[in-house]
Each structure stands twice: as structure tokens, then as C-alpha cells.
């Protein structure tokens, strides 16, 4: 350590001083010896000469002494770097191509990696985010369903793998008494939640156990955003009260700004345990989930086993219908990323393949250059450069180029990252937080150096085997420049073609899927359809009758508006996600076993909704006025559910659907109609089995009012707002959108992935074209003389054409075969990203193959043209 430090100081400050001091010292040494010689009686000149002889080589001694102050390794590296930079300046066009290729590859990889890092890898912004676990219950059919309060209480108290555990549940309540009624969003949480998540109060305090017990005085904590926008930003707000769904809550605190739990913007936090009395049974589900902080060192598997053991014990001590339920536990980071994971991993692999192509291009370029430099290398070897020294020099040169390319790539990445965030879908969690931060910079640095090493290996390997005599004598690249280099370059071209084929296949598939999704039949007519999302405050609309009356009146008023053709009510319109799923069974069919009860989505709609939305009725009849509350309970099902149970949808009519299946409570509904499928999850979503309750028989306070207009639906927006406000100004409009907007937004993520993959496919094609061109061009250059001789002795140009063309075709065909195999086996990873077509799509494979073939032909045509137009006479004379 100390030695190093003094070396560094010396190197920085005292280099020249040290040299002077050393020579002074040696001069003094010589003077002493001379003086002694004179004392012994020698004449002065002879005395000095004798002293010099005795001393030995002054310069060499001085150099050796100086070396002990240096970092010899470092200095040779610096020298190699200087040499590399000089090489770049000497062949600017070559260097430019290499650096740009690397910059593209590294830039694209860095940008995508920063997204992957931010979305998938970066620890959550909570204390010990890496140990946070998402908890729910699991059944044989579904995992991650809600936890019941009683189960949670047992988990919380009996487990020994978690440091802490907190429950949360989402809820929407209407805020009244402060101007117009507004719908607010809440998290109901246990008192330990804030500590676990690391939230602090900006004003007042957070919940204690006293707030979180049954029968406690109602209290709320407001978020900073809500405090600013809905509570006036008054610092005296603590102690005031707010009315949520008719209950008055005391505000006890305001959270620090910037705190958000999950992607859900929330206004208030409420203690969940205040209403815990309502849950009497171990099977009383709500929508509660929990989050746990693993003890340091505890694994997820341990935690699962631990919680499962508690569930098994409970099944014995407190048996119920859900004794087979088990615990669901997954890391929070994974749950948050959800299905974005596959998309991002596919993108990351694609961009990685682009980097490989870039790397191959650079390798073949460097190889070409090193062959051209064979004479220089031979000279170096001849004057005594060792293999290791030579390898180090060549590698340093390559790394210098790679680092310059990487730096440029970083700029590119910074720029494209901004574009990515701009065009990226809003629903990808933490996408906007992606920046070029330390781990990303590290990634860029590592891949730059790795690419430099990898691309530089071939020339270095070749240089080690330089045949001195040939290289020194010939000194120009000829066909004899190495069969090995030839084979290596051919391999690179084959790899490039194979990878490009894979990428074009994948991007082709995604483009095809996007088109399919855009043209997918949504099952209804989204044109001229307006959707008003409402939520009636429960304080004013507590009874089913009041809800029915409100929506009936609103529908009537809206129908009277000019431009409105029809008005319908639905709970979850297509493309808006589902309202939830539940078990069901068909009474007329054999009773399924407990594990085989099927699931179906459910929805609520009124009699005019299917007409207003123009959904096709396949069999039976629509809901009508005769389906009243208290009358025969009826349902309409979709085609998917009908086909799941019967060979023909018409057979469903008159049969009875038991909600909840044989083992859970639920009403029995008579099936009166079968509807065409609609895409509940979005245009590219699955068409899941769905049954509809009649709104008249199961009114809900949260409904979406759909308006069929006879013109631009946007023009009816003001009328819609006016009518809602006129009927009851305490009812907030949650959203007001056209169905086309609504549906279009569902494809945002698909567009994003398709755009990027298309971009990468294009980039791969471009790079591969450059690579193929470069290698074939070199192949022709190396054979210029051979071609000239052939032409001179009477070969036809067509023969040359066939010869060179055969070489190119052979490479292309091998590449395409390998690429097809690769793409075909990779296709199963894409199953979840593909829509409307099969991932194993021969047509797409064929098209991609054709495209790559065309690109290869294009790239090969220039060298082939050169080959056939060799001027035999001139070439031979020059040689």
C-alpha cells in the first residue's frame, strides 16, 4: 500500500526531480571514487576513468533505479493505448465503421438494459425492498387470490419467517361536503403497514394499533397529493374531518410527498382493522392482500412452507369450505413487473442478438485489418516481441476502439431512453424511472470491454500464428493469407444471417399480431360509443331501489339528448378489464368435484346495453322488462362459456347456471340468451367465458353508462356531464371516454414491443448487410489475381459469377437453415406475445427467410459485380 502511494506521488509530482537527484547522487559517487583513486596516487584523468570502470553502466543503473518508481505494466498499457489511438487516426473510415457499429449495438443494449433494470431488477424504493413478499391465498385453480382476515391474523401472529406483515385492500369512497362530490381512492391498511413500507408523516401522525381495532374512532391519513388538491394544502388540516361515503373521519396525518404504494394513485389511507368484526368466518373473502418482510436469511420457500403449515393447522382447528387453500407468496419485484417480464426479456434477448451481429461485423473487420497488418506484426515478432506482448497490444487497441464505441453508444442510449419513456405505455411500472445510473453505466462498460475482447480475439489468435517468412516476403493480402481466417469469416457471415433471420421472424410475427389485434373483431361496435363511468356514493344510494331509480332516470334523461340514439348500462365495458371471476356450475350437468369447478368472468348489464353496444345475439333473447327484481333470475352468457359446456350455443337456453358452483353460496340463474364474445381484457386479450347478471335483478352502484350516438361521440361529452351533474351533483364522474380511445389504449403495450422489435430487426438487417458485404468484398479482393488469371486463360464471366455466387449462396443457405432452426425452437417463448397467429408460423418463417435472402443478395451483388468485372490485363500487369 505504502509503496503504491509513494509511487503514485512520485509519478505525479517528483518524476523529473527524482531523475536529477539520482544523477547528482551517482555523480557524487563517482567523485568520491575518483578522489580516492587520486589519493592513491593516480593521475586525475586515469583516476576518473578507473572510477567509471568500477562503477559500471551509469545510465543503465539510473534506469533500473528509476524503474522501481514506475508501474511498468501501466506504462506499456498507456503506450499501447497511444498506439491504438494513432491507428484510429491513421485509418479514419475503417475506424468510423467499427465505432459506429459498436455504438449502435452498445447503445441499443444499454437503453434496453436500463429499462429492464429499472422495471425488473432495481430494488423497490421501500426499506429492504428486496425482502418484501406479496402474500395471498392459493387454491388448486387460482393463485394469489385474496386473504381472509382471520387467516391473515393467524399468519401474522404464528409465522416465524417474517419480520413483519401488513395487510392492505383497495377501496373507492365518495368524498362529500367539500364542493362537488368526488370519487376518492383508498388503501385500507393495518397499522404496521407504513413502517413496513417506510412511509413517514409530513404532518400529524400515522396509525397506531389503537386506530386499527374494531370500534375505534374513524381516522384517516391523507396523501400529500390529496392534501394539496382536495384538502386545500392547509397545514392545519390535522384534526379536521372528512366525510367519506357518509361517515365522518378525523384526519390524523398527511404523508410525505412522493410516496406511492404500487401503481395506484390514492387519496386516503384508512385503518383496516376497524371493521374486522364483520369477518366472522375463515372463508370471508374481500379483496385484501398482504405484504411481508422476510427475516434476513429466510427464503421464500421457507416462508411458504411456514404459512402452509399454519393453513393446515387451521383446517383442523377451524374447518370450513376452504380447507384446501394454501399460502401464495412471491417477491414484490416480480409481482409488480408481472407480465411485462416476458416482453422485456424478449426485447433484451433481441437486442443482445443485435449486439452479437455488431460484434461479428467488428470481428471480421478487425480480422481483415490484421491480415493487412501481417507485415507490421511480422516485423514486431522479428525484432523480439513475444506472443503475449503482441496479444496484449492488439487487445488493447481493440478495447480502445470498443471503449470509444461504448462512449458514443452511451450517448445514443441516453437519447433513445428518453424516446422509450416518451412512447412507452403508461402501465409498465417504474418505466419512467429508468435512467443511465451506475448499474447501467457499469453494464455498458462491461459489454464494451467484452465486445472489444471478443471481437479482438480472432485477429490476436491469428497474429500468434504469423508465418514470418511468408508475411515478410509477400506483405499483401492474398488468398494465402490464411484458410483459417477464411473459415472464421465464413462462420461470422453464417451466424449473422442466422441471427438476422431469427430477429426478422420474431418482429414479423409481432407486426402480424399487432395487425391482427387492431383488426380483431371486438364483438361490439366501438364506433360512436361514449362511456361514462360512474360511482354512486353509498351514503345516498344505499338501497338497490335508489340505485335502480338513479340509473333509470339518468338513462331516460340521456336518451332525450339530441344525437343520442341509445343508452345502456354495463358494469365492465369491453377492454376495461374484468369485474372479477367466480366459480359456477350447470345444474343440468353432473356435479363437478371440488377441484374441477369451472371459473367464469361475471358482468352486469341492463336490457338495452347489448343493443346500444351492438353485440350480436347468437341464441335466445335479450334481457327485457319482464326480468324484474324478485322475478325469475336470468342470465345471458357468452359464446365461449356456451361452447365450453355445450356443442351448440342453443342447447344452453333454459338450462340453469349456479353461481359459486356446488360448494359455494350463490344464486341460480336461468340462461336466456347467448352473446358473441367480446374482448374484455383488450383487443389482444383472451375471450374468456363470461355470464351477465341483469342489472334490474342485481343493481350495482358502480356502472358505466354507454351512449350510442349518431355522430361524433365527443360532441355528446358536455351533454353527458351536464345531465349527470343535473341529476345529482354529488355523483362524481370517474371517467368519460369514447370506446375507441378505450380499446386503442389496450394495444399500447403491444405497439411498444412491436415497434422496438421491428427496430431491432431492421438494425440487424442493416448490420448483417454491411457484414456480408464486407466479408464477400474481402473474399473477392483476396482472389483478384486468381480471377484475373482465370479470365486471362479464357474463363467466361459467367463462370466467375457462378463460382463467386456459389460461395455466397452456400453461406446464405447454411445461415438460413440454422436461423430457421433457431427461430423455430425460440418460437415457443413467444407464445404469450403473439396474437391471432400461431407462434410456429410457417408463412412468417418463409417471408422472413425471403427477406433475409434478398438482403443477403443485395449485399453480395456489389462484390460479385466487382469479381466479374475484374480487368484481367491491368491486374496481372500490376502484380
Amino acid at each position: 500500500m505504502r509503496e503504491w502511494w509513494s509511487k503514485i506521488c512520485r509519478a505525479l509530482h517528483f518524476r523529473s526531480g527524482l531523475d536529477r537527484d539520482l544523477s547528482d547522487e551517482m555523480q557524487a559517487h563517482l567523485d568520491l571514487m575518483t578522489a580516492e583513486n587520486i589519493e592513491r596516487g593516480m593521475p586525475p584523468t586515469e583516476a576518473r576513468a578507473a572510477a567509471r570502470r568500477a562503477f559500471g553502466n551509469v545510465t543503465s543503473t539510473q534506469e533500473k533505479a528509476r524503474e522501481s518508481w514506475q508501474f511498468p505494466r501501466l506504462e506499456t498499457i498507456l503506450q499501447d493505448i497511444r498506439y491504438g489511438l494513432r491507428g484510429i487516426r491513421k485509418s479514419p473510415s475503417f475506424s468510423l465503421v467499427v465505432i459506429l457499429t459498436l455504438a449502435l449495438g452498445i447503445g441499443a443494449n444499454t437503453a434496453i438494459f436500463s429499462v429492464v433494470y429499472s422495471v425488473l431488477l432495481r430494488p423497490l424504493p421501500y426499506p429492504h425492498g428486496e425482502r418484501l413478499v406479496w402474500l395471498g391465498e392459493s387454491t388448486a385453480k387460482a393463485s394469489g387470490i385474496s386473504i381472509t382476515w382471520i387467516n391473515f391474523e393467524h399468519w401474522r401472529h404464528d409465522n416465524d419467517s417474517f419480520e413483519n406483515m401488513a395487510a392492505f385492500a383497495g377501496e373507492d369512497l365518495t368524498l362529500t361536503g367539500r364542493g362537488d362530490a368526488v370519487l376518492t381512492h383508498e388503501w385500507l391498511v393495518t397499522s404496521g403497514f407504513f413502517q413496513l413500507i417506510g412511509a413517514r408523516p409530513a404532518l400529524g401522525r400515522l396509525f397506531t394499533d389503537r386506530d386499527d381495532t374494531p370500534g375505534a374512532a374513524p381516522t384517516v391519513v391523507a396523501t400529500a397529493d390529496c392534501w394539496q388538491r382536495k384538502l386545500g394544502g392547509d397545514s392545519n388540516v390535522v384534526g379536521e374531518s372528512v366525510v367519506l361515503d357518509g361517515t365522518s373521519y378525523q384526519i390524523i396525518g398527511v404523508l410525505n410527498p412522493g410516496f406511492q404504494f404500487q401503481m395506484r394513485p390514492v387519496d386516503f389511507y384508512l385503518p383496516i382493522g376497524r371493521n374486522a368484526n364483520a369477518h366472522h368466518k375463515r372463508s370471508d373473502h374481500g379483496n385484501m392482500r398482504a405484504v411481508g418482510l422476510l427475516k434476513p436469511g429466510a427464503t421464500l420457500t421457507q416462508a411458504r412452507t411456514n404459512l402452509d403449515a399454519i393453513m393446515q393447522r387451521l383446517a383442523l382447528s377451524d374447518p370450513g369450505p376452504e380447507d384446501d387453500h394454501r399460502a401464495y407468496a412471491a417477491y414484490f419485484t416480480e409481482v409488480m413487473a408481472g407480465d411485462v417480464r416476458t416482453t422485456l426479456l424478449v426485447l433484451m434477448s433481441a437486442v443482445g442478438l443485435v449486439l452479437i451481429i455488431a460484434c461479428a461485423n467488428v470481428a471480421s473487420l478487425l480480422l481483415v485489418r490484421s491480415t493487412a497488418r501481417a507485415r507490421e506484426i511480422a516485423i514486431r515478432v522479428a525484432i523480439g516481441a513475444g506472443r503475449a506482448r503482441l496479444a496484449r497490444q492488439l487487445l488493447t487497441e481493440n478495447i480502445v476502439i470498443a471503449v470509444i464505441g461504448g462512449a458514443l453508444g452511451l450517448f445514443l442510449a441516453g437519447w433513445s431512453l428518453r424516446m422509450l419513456i416518451l412512447i412507452g405505455p403508461r402501465d409498465i411500472p417504474r418505466l419512467t424511472e429508468a435512467t443511465l445510473d451506475l448499474p447501467v453505466l457499469l453494464f455498458a462498460a462491461v459489454i464494451s470491454v467484452a465486445v472489444g475482447l471478443l471481437a479482438g480475439l480472432a485477429p490476436v489468435w491469428n497474429a500468434g500464428k504469423v508465418d514470418l517468412t511468408t508475411a515478410l516476403k509477400e506483405g499483401s493480402p492474398t488468398a494465402s493469407a490464411g484458410k483459417r481466417g477464411e473459415a472464421f469469416r465464413s462462420t461470422l457471415v453464417i451466424a449473422e444471417i442466422a441471427i438476422t433471420l431469427m430477429l426478422s421472424f420474431v418482429s414479423g410475427l409481432l407486426v402480424r399480431s399487432l395487425i391482427a389485434a387492431q383488426h380483431a373483431d371486438p364483438g361490439f361496435d366501438p364506433q360512436n360509443l361514449l362511456a361514462i363511468e360512474l360511482q354512486l356514493p353509498e351514503s345516498r344510494y344505499g338501497s338497490a331501489d335508489s340505485v335502480r331509480e338513479y340509473y333509470g332516470q339518468l338513462s331516460q334523461n340521456l336518451r332525450a339528448e339530441p344525437g343520442v340514439d341509445d343508452v345502456g348500462l354495463v358494469m365492465c365495458p369491453p377492454g376495461a378489464g374484468d369485474c372479477g371471476d367466480y366459480w359456477y356450475s350447470i345444474l343440468e350437468k353432473p356435479t363437478p368435484t371440488r377441484d374441477d369447478v369451472p371459473l367464469s368472468l361475471f358482468n352486469i348489464a341492463d336490457a338495452s346495453y347489448f343493443r346500444a353496444a351492438r353485440m350480436r345475439l347468437l341464441a335466445g333473447r335479450n334481457f327485457n322488462e319482464s326480468d324484474r327484481a324478485g322475478g325469475l333470475r336470468v342470465t345471458m352468457i357468452n359464446e365461449r362459456l356456451a361452447r365450453q359446456e355445450w356443442p351448440d350455443p342453443r342447447l344452453a337456453l333454459g338450462q340453469h347456471l349456479k353461481v359459486g358452483g356446488p360448494y359455494m353460496e350463490g344464486p341460480t340463474l336461468e340462461i336466456i340468451g347467448v352473446l358473441a364474445n367480446v374482448s374484455q381484457e383488450g383487443l389482444d386479450g383472451e375471450r374468456s367465458p363470461t355470464f351477465y347478471y341483469a342489472f334490474s335483478q342485481k343493481p350495482d352502484s358502480a356502472m358505466v353508462v354507454t351512449l350510442r350516438t349518431n355522430g361524433d361521440p365527443a360532441q355528446c361529452m358536455n351533454a353527458a356531464r351536464r345531465q349527470v351533474s343535473a341529476l345529482d351533483r354529488n355523483v362524481p364522474i370517474q371517467s368519460l371516454r369514447t370506446a375507441e380511445d378505450w380499446l386503442g389504449a389496450t394495444l399500447q403495450r403491444r405497439r411498444f414491443a412491436t415497434l422496438l422489435l421491428g427496430l431491432f430487426g431492421g438494425l440487424a438487417m442493416l448490420l448483417a448487410a454491411v457484414g456480408i458485404y464486407g466479408v464477400l468484398n474481402y473474399w473477392v479482393s483476396a482472389r483478384q489475381r486468381e480471377i484475373a488469371i482465370r479470365l486471362a486463360v479464357g474463363a467466361q464471366r459467367s463462370t466467375i459469377m457462378r463460382w463467386a455466387g456459389l460461395h455466397a449462396t452456400r453461406l446464405a443457405v447454411i445461415g438460413i437453415v440454422l436461423g430457421t432452426l433457431g427461430a423455430w425452437s425460440a418460437a415457443r417463448w413467444l407464445e404469450s406475445l403473439v396474437f391471432g397467429v400461431k407462434a410456429h408460423n410457417p408463412l412468417m418463417m418463409f417471408l422472413a427467410g425471403g427477406a433475409v435472402m434478398a438482403i443477403a443478395a443485395l449485399a453480395a451483388s456489389i462484390p460479385l459485380w466487382r469479381a466479374t468485372h475484374t480487368d484481367a490485363v491491368r491486374n496481372l500487369r500490376e502484380a
Binding site: 505504502r2 537527484d21 557524487a28 559517487h29 568520491l32 571514487m33 578522489a35
Partner: protein
Amino acid sequence: MSTVDNPLQRLELLQGTLEVLILRSLQATPNHAYGISQFLERQSEFEFLVDNGSLYPALQRLLQRRWISSQWKKSPNGRRAKYYRLTPLGRTQLVAAKSKWMRFVEAMARVLAPQR
């Protein structure tokens, strides 16, 4: 090649010994490079040949480790020379190295010329 050492040919210093010898030579009094080499040759009864090409780098290494320090001074006969002196750190190093080398020498002797 003869199997017996030529007594006229002086010994080459073993790797790592020179530095200990330099420290030892500075134990009593500070000295300059020439003085050190003379001291070592005289003390070893001219068995050791001290090559300046080894001496100077060794001095530099010792300086870097702060085992010795240097200073320009006038020699007794009025000439300017660079004098090296042991630092306290160098002194402890010398003690440690000395006992290590003594053990080494004894061990070598026991192995090479065992007393029956």
C-alpha cells in the same frame, strides 16, 4: 564444469539479501551509496561483490517502504553526498530480518554439513 567453487570468484548476492545487508550497514551510522558498498565488501571480507545496478534500485525500494530516509550532507573530507539513515520502521524491520536470516543460515548449515 568444476564442482568446487573457485575461491577467486566472488559470491553473488542471493535474492532479497541485499536489502537486509543495506539495513545492517546503516545500523551504526548513516552512510552514502559508495560507503555502503564499501562497507559490505569489507565486512564480507570481499566475498560479496556489490553491483551498483542492484544497489541503487534496492536503495530506492527501501526509500519507498520508508525503511530508510535520505539527506544530502557534507562528507568528512568536505564532499557533498547523499546520506541514507535507518528510520525507526527500518530498525524494527532489521531486527526481524536478522533473526530470520540467522535461522535460515543455521538451518542451511545443519542440512549441508550435518554434525554426526
